[in-house]
Homo-oligomer: 278 residues x 4
């Protein structure tokens, strides 16, 4: 009898595995959709709680919702942990740690009492916002974009390196030029200003006051305005290439002799075996 219980539990585990980790079955898809909405709603709840005007009248309702989501996510966390084929790998992955950190504070508040500690512990719950990254796998179309970004990541890093150098030099120069007028009180702060300027954000909390400072800033702005063209050019070039590669793949002139299928649209002979293409 004991054996049949184990067998039953194993079959339950197997079925749960399919529901939680796979999306091909109807129940698996339903589980995913419920989880997706639960994550979105719980993130939305935490956000609303930070608004004083909402927390005061609806505090009790938000607390109840909080506990409902905590229990739901606890069940999900335990299921993932015990049913996964490699529980350790999940537990110590980035999302696994986030999942745990998003749960613990609610439970700790049951045992600990007292103002300031509680606030620190509760604020950890805000890390829950990272769980939104889980939604990423629902998007299949993202692959073209991430492929293009991956292909051009070296060039983008070089570009960011060039921007960083520009910002370090301009920041230091502006600190020398402006003195502490206009908010350029230290080099790191001047570099912060240079980043705000070169990216064309321009808060205006720090702004050059001297003539030479304004001329330097003008040059930085024009450079920032022009060099935005560089990452755009890189990514555009990669996306155009990625689309072309896809077209070739979809083109599907298959060689009847060697079954190669990546032929140019105007090819008359197979480029691999020399066989005539129909």
């Amino acid at each position: 009898m004991k054996q049949s219980v184990i067998k039953y539990l194993l079959s339950v585990r197997k079925r749960l595995y399919i529901i939680i980790f796979e999306t091909d079955t109807r129940v698996g898809r339903l589980f995913d959709i419920i989880l997706l909405w639960a994550i979105l709603l719980s993130v939305f709840g935490v956000m609303l709680e930070s608004v004083k005007e909402i927390k005061q009248p609806y505090g009790t309702f938000l607390l109840m919702a909080e506990w409902a989501f905590t229990i739901l996510f606890t069940i999900e966390y335990l299921l993932r942990l015990f049913i996964s084929r490699s529980p350790g790998k999940y537990a110590f992955s980035f999302l696994g740690i986030i999942d745990l950190l998003a749960l613990l504070p609610s439970y700790i508040t049951l045992f600990v009492s007292g103002g300031s500690y509680l606030i620190v512990i509760r604020s950890i719950r805000l890390l829950r916002v990272f769980r939104i990254l889980k939604l990423g796998r629902y998007l299949r179309e993202a692959s073209v974009l991430t492929d293009a970004l991956t292909a051009s990541r070296h060039k983008i890093l070089v570009f960011l390196g060039a921007v960083t150098t520009l910002v370090l030099i301009t920041g230091t120069l502006m600190y020398m030029i402006e003195g502490s007028g206009g908010g350029f009180t230290s080099i790191p702060r001047s570099i912060y200003w240079a980043i705000v300027t070169v990216t064309t954000v321009g808060y205006g909390d720090i702004a050059p006051q001297t003539i030479i400072g304004q001329i330097t800033a003008s040059i930085l702005m024009l450079m920032g305005y022009a060099i935005i063209a560089v990452p755009t050019g890189i990514v555009t070039s990669e996306i155009v290439n990625a689309e072309k590669g896809k077209i070739k793949e979809e083109n599907q002139i298959i060689c009847s002799s060697c079954e190669l299928n990546a032929h140019d649209p105007d090819a008359k002979f197979c480029k691999s075996c020399g066989n005539k293409l129909s």
Copy 2:
């Protein structure tokens, strides 16, 4: 005799239909142009009315213009309603409801009197600005742009989803880092700041004050500065493809000898085998 009146009315209706809904006849085009200017002028009038310095001296003139346009648009609305082949469809369409809402307030003010109610009712007239969308159909060249945007709408949605996630996470992190200093008083407000920053708008009404906050903001700015390349790349790629597709489509000259089909539009002989093209 009654029959001939009906016949006459039907022929009037038919002629009006051609004037209002078609743009091929001279009178139809004239009707469109007058309507176009009337919409632009009435929108301009409502805008001027909101400026105190203009309303005081020219108030009476604006009121008269208001009534002139109201009567003109009432006639247009009734004509569209009674002449259209499916009046219900027009009446409950977005532009139909806007047309009605743009007319009603002027008539209601005749019967209702008394300060605060009147202001609310009159402000509904501002919705008239949506009527400007009617001008859209006068632009034929817009189709290339809308085609490119339609073709890349999935990728742009994925991109906007990625930006939203980035903004949610950065907003929450900044609320944790900055406390309520510098205006980060709630998570929604912090997210608002993150949107203002990542889109490089940068009002400066909310700005990070702590060192860690400024470092986080700097990273967000550089990311915002670099990821603008993604939608640009997507749309550019689509427009280049759309133009190519158009050229290819217009250009189906196939060589009867070697079956090559990539000929220039002005080609008379096959560039590959020298055969005469038909």
Copy 3:
């Protein structure tokens, strides 16, 4: 003898015509370079005059430079007028009127005296900055850019029309949402804010205060951030096409039979007469 004087004057006129209107001779080029520097220096002088800190100590020097340039430009203006083959055309062209307006104030100040009138007259001199447009013809490389912009001007106009509509609607909506809080005191002012926001300039002098206003503004910002891709895509597509056209032109496989030279790089037979290409 009189005849020989006329003949001499005509030959002088012809020589001056070559110097002023043509750039192929050495003297003509020298004239152009001197004029170019004179324009730049006179514009620079007018700019410095507007800075109080510079005008007080160096006022006399600036006045002398002013008169030197005025006399130089007067000579140039008269020469252009009397030597040109169609003086009227030049006199009433945009640059001709600017040239005259840039000269008159200096002479008027000799006859008129008295504070406020003088300031108005002198400020007309500032229009001299438009003379900088004359430098445009020295740039040959500008043609690729202006060609691309000319080719895509219809699409860019459609794009600007779409942005204008977006800005009109958002501005009106924000006026309704924000009331007069945060500086949205009239619809034109709200539209000004919408332009500042959608172009990602973001001065911060007007900023939404209400939650709904901030949500609307966030949507506008994200749209502004994404639709920048549209003009970029249009212009990029045109420049890529312009370059391709140039490559074909430079490709220079010339048919020995009909002398056509716009062949594709892989063409073996002339597309116009079917002759074999070498």
Copy 4:
């Protein structure tokens, strides 16, 4: 014996030359990596020194690190100077002068004492930030970007010239329109505002107050928003061409039978005539 010393010294010089100027040997690479980190750390140290909150408690430590780096860079400078084949060329190059200027202040502070002079001298050390440009040669991937930028530098200069003209004219017009309201106190300042606006930075320290000024500013913003497309188009076009050129260059497989040369890199048979490619 003397000869052998000279011979020994020459061989040391040769070995040092390889270590310092070449990166192919293991020791040469190690030297480069140590130098790279020393530059980054010394720049970081100078930056931290400018922050009052850090200088007070850690001042002594920063001074010690300062001297350690000064001695290290002195050794590097002397080695470069005496081992280089053309010492004069290095000494008077931009980076050579920066290297010297970055060292001198530390030594001068040993002999000179007294407040204000010291500060000026010490601030020269900040030029050390330019040494970061030395890191450039470690990046091989940068060549594609710099190639694209070099190829399009003429067009970018024309573009910057057009932007400069736009900014000069708009700045002058705004000075005439706004008077000294809203901070448009002089033409150079108005031009500074125009640059801040056209590049979409938008600090908000200077903003138009009059209706006409706001309309002019709106037009400038829309132009700035649209013309960003031009440099982007230029650079994108160049990068796409550079990539294509690279592919074509790497790909000179010519069919010996039909002389087609547009084969894929993995092609074994001619796609047009089926002939075997060598």
